[in-house]
Amino acid sequence: MSRIAGSGTEVAIRDFRFRNVPMLSTLAAILLALLPFVFSSPMVPDLGFLVLITWRLLRPEIWPAQVALGFGLFADLVAGHPIGQSMLLWTLVFLAMDFVDSRLGFRDYLMDWLLAAAAILLHGAGTWYIALLMGSDTGFIVMLPQIGVSILAYPLVARIVLGLDRWRLGR
């Protein structure tokens, strides 16, 4: 592909890609919850949440905090959570990250990973507590494998999101 857009359509395609890749990739990750696998224990990370916080950590400027409400509602409907669960937790995480960003002058990759780990822990504890309120009487220990796997999966997701970001901004 040539590095210079040759026509108006090509400009439009690149502009669309530039604007919408973060949103579309997050929606696609949320839709992964529909994969036809049946699991007997919560082991798999919440991929929609992971991709969302990775975009947020990589590009703090593209999204205001309230987009998490929309993404959360979509995730609740797709994954069958009680409506409001992801809306609440994801927006909470976004606001917390805004706060951290306002205090923290500088973040590097390890710091991002640490913040992501904190967000994953908060999210795991939140979903567990909401499940408890809904009558699911399980120990928090059930969530630990999933939280561990999610924290370890962050570098992988960060690689993918970084690749998408380079493709989005590339010419």
């Binding site: 994969l35 696998f37 919560p42 909470l92 923290l104 909401i130 699911s136 009487d137």
Partner: protein, 341 residues
């Protein structure tokens, strides 16, 4: 990349207000989310219409992919079986012989059971299925253990109905769309199934632990009646689950309780059978339960009218004091009741 020192997006008033309004919207949205969650906790069926519609839209995606997954996992199994053919053959032959002997014994027992039931005049409701369908996906990132079925209210599925496979109990329906429904697996923390130990009839409650196992709680204190390898079956108490469906096999004893593995693995079983609620009164609203029950769950032996002027005595072998009064759910007019419809 260092983020900007402050989040003020410049000198533009419009941009500054935009940022402020963004935070207001985010916090208001969180308040709404909390309210929605409160509604979900208080009335779990409150958003039935919305969630059912979402289920209808998303289930076909999982349903389409399920056969692909089944094909590949079947292929892996097939290759493995090929390599172990010899030893497996001998093992299966031995199991088959054992199963044949067991079958004969069971047929005799079943005959005896039928005869005894007829003698007592007991009628069992239910036993017929609402729909046979497939499990197409499950929740995988939340602490809840929910699964999706590829049939919904158009097939007659309603919330509360038990779901089983050939191997044992899978769970019960909690939400229905028109063409898809969501079920609560027996391993979910909110699921509790009344079970019993067929060896001696000890009643217990099987509560899910959320990690693929089930905890068995007995009512007895002191001694643990379970042994490793015991299979528990539904007892039919509570009226939702029909009796005699295998639920779990005990794998570990822990103090007063036992940890068990469900006999039906929803990841493996291709078909799920949705059955009617065992006793219809169990699913209705509370005020309906106080009305006289038209269709009896269990009809006692017909209390023969005592001969005029001569009360029945204890010496009469058919004298059962508990049955002299009208039983809750016993039909007066019907004889030894056939399954009421």
């Amino acid at each position: 990349m260092a983020p900007p020192k402050n989040r003020r997006p410049g000198f533009s008033r419009r941009a500054q207000f935009g940022l402020f309004i963004g935070y207001v919207v985010a916090i208001a949205g969180m308040v709404v989310a909390v309210l929605l969650l409160v509604v979900a906790v208080v009335d779990p069926r409150g958003f039935q219409a919305i969630k059912g519609a979402a289920l209808d839209v998303t289930a076909p995606v999982s349903s389409g992919g399920r056969s692909v997954v089944g094909f590949f996992s079947g292929m892996v199994d097939g290759v493995g079986n090929y390599f172990r053919a010899g030893s497996q053959n001998a093992e299966l032959r031995r199991e088959l012989e054992e199963a044949r002997r067991e079958l004969v014994r069971r047929q005799a027992l079943e005959y005896e059971n039928r005869r005894l039931h007829a003698l007592l005049g007991l009628a069992r409701e239910a036993g017929d299925e609402v729909a046979v369908t497939r499990i197409v996906s499950s929740s995988f990132d939340s602490p809840r253990r929910l699964a999706t079925l590829s049939a919904g209210s158009t097939s007659g599925i309603a919330p509360g109905q038990p779901v089983r496979s050939a191997d044992g109990l899978i769970g019960r329906v909690i939400e229905t769309g028109r063409w898809a429904s969501r079920i609560l697996l027996v391993t979910d923390g909110a699921s509790s199934v009344p079970v019993m130990l067929p060896r001696d009839g000890t009643p217990a409650i099987a509560v899910g632990r959320g990690d693929g196992t089930i905890e068995l709680r007995t009512l007895e204190v002191g001694q643990n009646p379970f042994r490793r390898g015991d299979v528990l079956i539904t007892s039919g108490i509570g009226g939702v689950f029909p009796p005699n469906i295998p639920v779990a096999r005990v794998t570990r004893i822990e103090g007063d309780t036992a940890i068990a593995q469900p006999t039906a693995d929803p990841a493996r079983s291709d078909y799920a059978i949705v059955e009617r609620i065992y006793q219809r009164a169990a699913s209705g609203p509370l005020d309906e339960a106080s009305r006289p029950i038209v269709a009896p769950p269990v009809a006692g032996p017909p209390a023969a009218a005592p001969a005029p002027g001569q009360p029945r005595r204890q010496s009469d072998p058919r004298y059962q004091p508990g049955l002299q009064q009208q039983q809750p759910g016993a039909v007066a007019s019907q004889g030894p009741a056939g399954p009421p419809r």
